[in-house]
């Protein structure tokens, strides 16, 4: 875990364009952003404003058309840094945890198996203890032998959060983590995020439509038409 308060993610002049027929769509337009270790940053904005695109590029799931990404003072994507899937896999594995609106739990695996799923692909010492501790922290230990279909939406998102954190990432990226949850569950996830940040110094970047939920963040970044309006 990153304990110091240095910049952990630096995005410089990011642009991302898509071709739709002959039309060129700019999802991001010259976006620059610095995120400090241990900070909770919320990206808000209307649909199509580019917040999910920004999150995906910050998390090395997508590459920018131009601009660059510096992670822990090392440029990993940008001009003169070719896109290399293998290298990005390593970064994703070691640095990031991802949470999505639809949870994406494997329905035939139990809660516990879903949480330790990353370790089916790579081994890490102390994995079992980390999984047990995380399930306790997110409050799903008593459901560890249940299948996802037997859980509520809030519980499923907790499982997804535990799965994202089991590999002890430095940064948690959450795309609409409460999009499928009611108000009570949304508040619970908000409290959990703050607890994880306070306890572990976790950096959290989240994308949300929910302005009330965004208030858990230390900083809110508002995007509109692919540009940062306010930060």
């Amino acid at each position: 875990m990153v304990q110091d308060r240095g910049v952990i993610i630096q995005a410089e002049h990011l642009t991302k364009t898509y071709h739709r027929g002959s039309e060129i769509i700019a999802a991001l337009n010259d976006v620059s952003l610095s995120i400090t270790a241990g900070e909770i940053v919320a990206c808000v904005g209307p649909s199509g404003s580019g917040k999910t695109t920004l999150l995906n590029i910050l998390g090395c799931l997508d590459n920018p058309t131009s601009g660059r990404i510096i992670l822990a003072e090392k440029t990993v994507m940008g001009e003169r840094v070719p896109f290399r899937e293998q290298a990005l896999t390593k970064i994703r594995r070691e640095m990031f945890g991802y949470v999505f609106q639809k949870f994406y739990l494997i329905p035939t695996l139990t809660v516990e198996e879903n949480v330790v799923l990353p370790f089916a692909f790579f081994k890490k010492p102390g994995a079992e203890a980390a999984a047990a501790s995380l399930m306790q922290q997110v409050g799903i230990e008593h459901r560890k032998h249940h299948l996802p279909g037997q859980l509520s939406g809030g519980e499923m998102q907790r499982v997804a959060i535990a799965r994202a954190l089991v590999n002890k990432p430095t940064v948690l990226l959450a795309d609409e983590p409460t999009g499928n949850l009611d108000t009570t569950r949304t508040d619970e996830i908000g409290a959990l995020f703050r607890k994880l940040r306070d306890a572990q110094g976790l950096t959290i970047v989240l994308v949300t439509h929910n302005l009330k939920f965004a208030k858990i963040a230390d900083r809110i970044v508002e995007l509109r038409d692919g540009k940062i309006q306010a930060s």
């Binding site: 995906n56 998390g59 799931l61 997508d62 899937e85 293998q86 896999t89 994703r92 594995r93 070691e94 990031f96 991802y98 999505f100 639809k102 994406y104 494997i106 329905p107 035939t108 695996l109 198996e113 330790v116 799923l117 990353p118 370790f119 089916a120 692909f121 790579f122 994995a127 079992e128 799965r163 994202a164 590999n167």
Partner: protein, 396 residues
């Protein structure tokens, strides 16, 4: 801790019906393959055993259809041509010959046999030479005939059961209205002798009015005799044909191999169809799980991990299909035997389908190998998915 094998196995449980149907398709192909290869091994072995247990290496018959002669040699036949008995003495003088045994096959329709009647075949044999050539025959009850012209019968094991006769009973020869006394019942041999009713040659000639006539002559050669040369010599005799063991084997195996090639082609097609089914199933599963594959990559799975996962799923389907198919083939081998006997014009006694552990293991390995090939394309498709493309497909 979960392993990639457990993940692959549990992934297959998601669409149980689809997985079961795919396994079923592979199992059917494996079933056909094992049964066919088992038949291939079993038929040849049984045929060789049948021929080797004849006791003589060459059969001389009156000139006619070679297939009819082969049938006579192995199964007995009706409506046959005759040759004069004197030919036996002539052949016996040849230096290569150790012994000859004359035979006369006759058959009559018995209306009381079975539900709608059937043919009973009687083989007239020479009491002086036949038992010597068939020294392996053992008696369950009684023994050979008391005189060369006695009205007596020796029944093969199955013939005794079918006729429900034992030593001391009388046996009526239908049409001729003649009764013969059962003096011996043979032990089971696993050959055509089990279903034969043996009578003294002279008795058969007398009952059927075929004096000095034979339908066949079994010839046993001396150990150092040249079989091919002797056959050539026999071909010089007028109005007879010579059937050697090699010829009989070749004739029947030629007939069977034609059918075997056809059935084998069908089995190969079945295997190919099941391979295409596997590709389709796994590819469909990959397409349905694009987002999930994206998430796995986001969680740190490499392209190699995804390839292995999808490949393992294919292998599991194929291995399960192979094992189930092979097990079904073993379990139904007796039924397959009965079925093949019904459709083949001639089938030797003994097991026709011989499935051994090596055959089962080889088939399962072959099916897994097909799984390896079938799984390669879907696995390659899956591992090439970029996480963002896969995750984005949820919104499409």
């Amino acid at each position: 801790m979960i392993t990639i094998y457990q993940v692959a196995y549990k992934n297959l449980l998601r669409k149980r019906t689809r997985s079961i149907l795919t396994v079923f398709g592979i199992a059917l192909a494996a079933w056909v393959l094992v049964s066919l290869l088992g038949f291939n091994a079993g038929y040849e072995l049984s045929l060789s055993r049948d021929i080797d247990s004849l006791g003589y290496q060459i059969l001389v018959t009156a000139k006619g259809c070679p297939y009819e002669a082969a049938t006579l040699m192995l199964k007995g036949g009706t409506g046959l041509r005759y040759m004069p008995q004197s030919i036996a003495e002539q052949i016996k003088k040849e230096p290569e010959v150790e012994d000859v045994t004359p035979m006369l096959m006759q058959a009559v329709f018995d209306p009381n046999k079975g539900e709608s009647g059937g043919y009973s075949a009687y083989l007239g044999v020479d009491p002086a030479t036949f038992p010597k050539m068939k020294s392996f025959l053992q008696f369950k009850q009684g023994g050979w005939f008391t005189a060369p012209d006695a009205f007596e019968a020796v029944l093969g094991y199955e013939a005794a059961e079918l006729e429900q006769r034992e030593v001391g009973d009388l046996l009526l020869i239908a049409e001729k209205e003649v009764e013969v006394k059962v003096v011996g019942v043979l032990k089971r041999t696993g050959t055509q002798d089990d279903g034969t009713i043996f009578l003294p040659l002279k008795t058969v000639q007398q009952i059927f009015g075929t004096d000095n006539k034979l339908t066949g002559l079994g010839i046993k050669l001396k150990k150092d005799a040249n079989l091919a040369q002797f056959e050539e010599k026999m071909y010089q005799l007028p109005d007879v044909q010579v059937v050697s063991l090699t010829q009989v084997k070749q004739t029947i195996m030629t007939l069977v191999s034609t059918a075997r090639v056809m059935v084998f082609s069908i089995a190969v097609i079945a295997v190919l169809i099941s391979a295409v089914g596997v590709i389709n199933t796994v590819l469909m599963s990959v397409m349905e799980r694009r987002q999930e594959i994206g998430i796995l990559k986001a969680l740190g799975a490499t392209a190699g991990d995804i390839f292995t996962l999808i490949w393992l799923e294919t292998m599991l389907l194929c291995a399960a299909g192979g094992v189930v198919g092979a097990a079904c083939a073993v379990a139904t081998s007796t039924m397959t035997d009965v079925f093949i006997r019904r459709i083949l014009p001639y089938s030797p006694s003994g097991g026709l389908v011989r499935i051994n552990p090596q055959l089962v293991v080889l088939t399962v390995i072959a099916v897994i190998f097909i799984g390896l090939l079938s799984g390669a394309y879907p696995s390659w498709k899956a591992c090439r998915l970029r996480p963002i493309e896969a995750i984005r497909s949820q919104e499409e």
